[in-house]
C-alpha cells in the first residue's frame, strides 16, 4: 500500500529524512517510532504530498506522490501533528466542508458523516463549535475527518499527543478498530503505544530507520534475556551468593524492602530461568514471597538500538 524507496529530505544543513526505505502492506498498522526531531513528521508530509522529497521515490496506493498527487490525496486520510482545525466552525459543519472537499457525492455526505461521528464517538458534540471542545474531542473531530472519504490509507502523526490517559486509551481503541479496514501508518514517541496498537514498528532516529520488525520479534532479536523480580525473606548477602551460583544467571542485585529483600536477576540467555531460580530457593529454604518476570519494554529496545548506532558511529569515526 505504501512503498518508500531511498527517500531523502534535505533542509539547509541537515537531512531530516535520510535515505529511508520501507513498505507497508494492506490493512497493516505500522508505527513510526522515534524521539522528537527524528523525521517522523517530515516523512509523513512527503507521503501526504504536502512537500516533496529531495531524492527517492514513494508510492501510495499505487500512485506516485510526486507525479500523481491529487490521486494520492484522494486515497489518504491524514491527521497532522497537533490536529489543526477551523475553530470557528461547528463539528458537523466542518465535516460537511471536508466531505465536499474530498469529493464525496452530495447524497452520500450525510450518511458518511453519521458513520464517522459514530466511529469516533462524537455524535453528542456535533453541533458544538470546535473551539469550545476539549482536546480529546478535537482529536476525534480530526480523526473523523481523516475517515470521512473512506480512505484506503490513514496517516496519523502523533495521534495521542497531549491527551490525558483516559482519552489516550479511547483513541488507541478507535485506531485499533480502524486497522481492520484501513492501512494505518502512525507516528509516536511514546513507546508502549506501538506495543499496544501496531502490527509492525519502525524505529527512526536522526532521519534513518534503525530497526523494523514486529514488536515481539524486536524484543527477541535484541538482548532480552529473562529478567526476574523476586521478593525473598532471609539474609540478603547469603541469598545473593546462592542465586549467583546458578549457571543460567548472569547477575544478581538486591535491595532491602520492609522485612524482606527485593532481588533483580538477569538471565544470561534466552532460556527461561524461573525453574532454576525456584529450585535454588527451595533447596536453601528461603521464603519466596513473589516472583515476576520483567519483560523488556520498547523503551529499552529503543535505547539499545539507538545507543548501538552511536557506538558504531563513534567506532567508525
Amino acid at each position: 500500500m505504501i512503498k518508500v524507496n531511498n527517500l531523502t529530505k534535505r533542509y539547509v544543513n541537515m537531512n531530516a529524512v535520510d535515505d529511508i526505505s520501507f513498505h507497508v502492506k494492506e490493512n497493516e498498522i505500522v508505527g513510526l517510532l522515534g524521539p522528537n526531531g527524528a523525521g517522523k513528521t517530515t516523512t509523513m508530509r512527503i507521503l501526504t504530498c504536502f512537500m516533496p522529497a529531495t531524492a527517492g521515490t514513494a508510492t501510495v496506493a499505487g500512485y506516485d506522490v510526486f507525479t500523481d498527487s491529487l490521486n494520492v490525496r484522494q486515497q489518504i486520510g491524514y491527521l497532522p501533528e497537533n490536529v489543526p482545525l477551523y475553530l470557528d466552525m461547528r463539528a458537523y459543519e466542518y465535516l460537511m466542508f471536508r466531505a465536499k472537499l474530498k469529493n464525496i457525492p452530495r447524497r452520500e455526505r450525510r450518511k458518511k458523516i453519521e458513520y464517522c461521528l459514530e466511529m469516533t464517538g462524537i455524535k453528542d458534540v456535533q453541533k458544538q463549535i470546535i473551539g469550545t471542545l476539549s482536546k480529546g474531542y478535537k482529536q476525534r473531530v480530526g480523526l473523523a475527518d481523516t475517515l470521512i472519504h473512506d480512505p484506503k490509507i490513514l496517516i496519523l502523526d502523533e495521534p495521542t499527543i497531549g491527551l490525558d490517559p483516559n482519552q489516550i486509551r479511547q483513541i488507541r481503541g478507535v485506531i485499533k478498530g480502524l486497522g481492520q479496514k484501513h492501512t494505518v501508518l502512525l507516528s509516536t514517541h511514546i513507546l508502549p503505544e506501538v506495543e499496544m496498537v501496531c502490527d509492525r514498528v519502525m524505529i527512526i532516529n536522526k532521519g534513518k530507520i534503525v530497526a523494523m520488525d514486529t514488536p515481539s520479534n524486536l524484543m527477541k532479536q535484541l538482548k532480552t534475556g529473562s529478567n526476574l523480580v523476586l521478593e525473598i525473606k532471609g539474609e540478603g548477602e547469603k541469598i545473593k551468593s546462592s542465586l549467583s551460583g546458578i549457571d543460567t544467571v548472569e547477575s544478581v542485585t538486591y535491595r532491602k524492602k520492609d522485612d524482606a529483600n527485593e532481588f533483580y536477576i538477569n538471565g544470561s540467555g534466552e532460556k527461561d530461568i524461573r525453574e532454576d531460580v525456584f529450585n535454588c530457593i527451595v533447596k536453601d529454604n528461603y521464603i519466596l514471597r513473589e516472583m515476576k518476570r520483567q519483560t523488556i519494554t520498547l523503551e529499552e529496545i529503543f535505547h539499545q538500538v539507538t545507543t548501538k548506532e552511536t557506538e558504531e558511529e563513534t567506532a567508525n569515526a
Binding site: N71, R73, P80, M89
Partner: protein, 236 residues
C-alpha cells in the same frame, strides 16, 4: 470548479462567524454616509462623484482587513496542512478565497445604493456615471483583494498582512498622482501602473476597455503570483 465553490462557501461562513466582517462593513458605511452627506452639502448636485472619490480612501484601508486572514490564519493555525493535503489544487484554494473576499467587498459597497435612491427621489441624477462608477468599484475591488490575498500568503501574522496590504495599496494609489509631476516614459509608466488614472475615467461615466484590461490583467497577475507563492512551500 466545485472545489472553488466549497472553499468559497467556507470562507463566507467564517466571515460571518467573526466580528471582522461586521466591523469593516459598519466602518465603511459610516464613512460613506458621512462623505455622501458632506458632498451633497458642498456641491449641491445629484451625483456620486465626489463622495465615491472620498470613500475610495476607505476602501484602500479596509480591503486589506478583509483579506488579511485568508492565508495568514491557515498558516498560523496549521490548517494549511489539512487543506493542502486534501484533493484540491492550489488554484482552487486561491481562487475560492479571492471570490469570497470580493463578495464581502461587494456586500460592503452594496448599501451605498441607498444614496442613489436618495438622489433619484430628491433630484435627477445622471445614471451613466453612477453605473460606470460601480463597475469601476468592482474592478478596483478585484485588484485590491488580490493584493491583500498575495500579502496574506506571505506572512502568518494577520496584522502584518493588513499593514503591508494597506501600504502597498497606498503606494499603488500615490504613484498615479506622482505621474502628474513630470513627463516622459517614466511618468507615463507610473500613470499606467497607478490605480488613480484608471479609476477616475469610470467616475466620469467612461468605461474604457484599456482600464478594464488594466484591472483584470493586474488582478490575474497577482492571483498567479499568489498561486506560485502557495506552491513555493514545496521547494523551500
Amino acid at each position: 470548479m466545485r472545489n472553488v465553490n466549497t472553499i468559497f462557501q467556507r470562507e463566507i461562513m467564517s466571515y460571518f462567524y467573526s466580528p471582522i466582517a461586521y466591523v469593516v462593513i459598519s466602518v465603511f458605511l459610516i464613512a460613506a454616509g458621512f462623505f455622501f452627506a458632506g458632498n451633497l452639502q458642498i456641491h449641491q448636485e445629484a451625483s456620486l462623484k465626489g463622495s465615491l472619490d472620498s470613500t475610495q480612501f476607505f476602501l484602500l484601508l479596509l480591503t486589506p482587513v478583509i483579506t488579511m486572514k485568508l492565508f495568514s490564519d491557515e498558516t498560523k493555525s496549521g490548517t494549511m496542512e489539512t487543506l493542502m493535503t486534501s484533493p484540491v489544487t492550489d488554484f482552487d484554494v486561491v481562487f475560492g478565497k479571492f471570490l469570497a473576499a470580493l463578495s464581502l467587498y461587494a456586500v460592503m459597497i452594496l448599501p451605498t445604493w441607498i444614496y442613489v435612491l436618495f438622489l433619484t427621489i430628491f433630484g435627477n441624477p445622471d445614471f451613466g456615471p453612477i453605473f460606470s462608477s460601480y463597475i469601476g468599484l468592482m474592478l478596483m475591488g478585484g485588484l485590491f483583494v488580490s493584493v491583500g490575498l498575495l500579502v496574506s500568503s506571505l506572512t502568518k501574522n494577520q496584522v502584518v498582512a493588513a499593514v503591508i496590504g494597506i501600504v502597498s495599496l497606498i503606494i499603488l494609489w500615490v504613484i498615479g498622482y506622482l505621474s502628474e509631476y513630470g513627463d516622459g516614459w517614466f511618468y507615463e509608466a507610473l500613470r499606467y501602473i497607478g490605480t488613480y488614472d484608471h479609476w477616475s475615467s469610470f467616475t466620469k461615466g467612461i468605461v474604457d476597455t484599456r482600464d478594464v484590461i488594466y484591472y483584470l490583467s493586474f488582478t490575474a497577475l497577482l492571483l498567479f503570483i499568489t498561486v506560485r507563492n502557495v506552491e513555493s512551500r514545496k521547494w523551500r
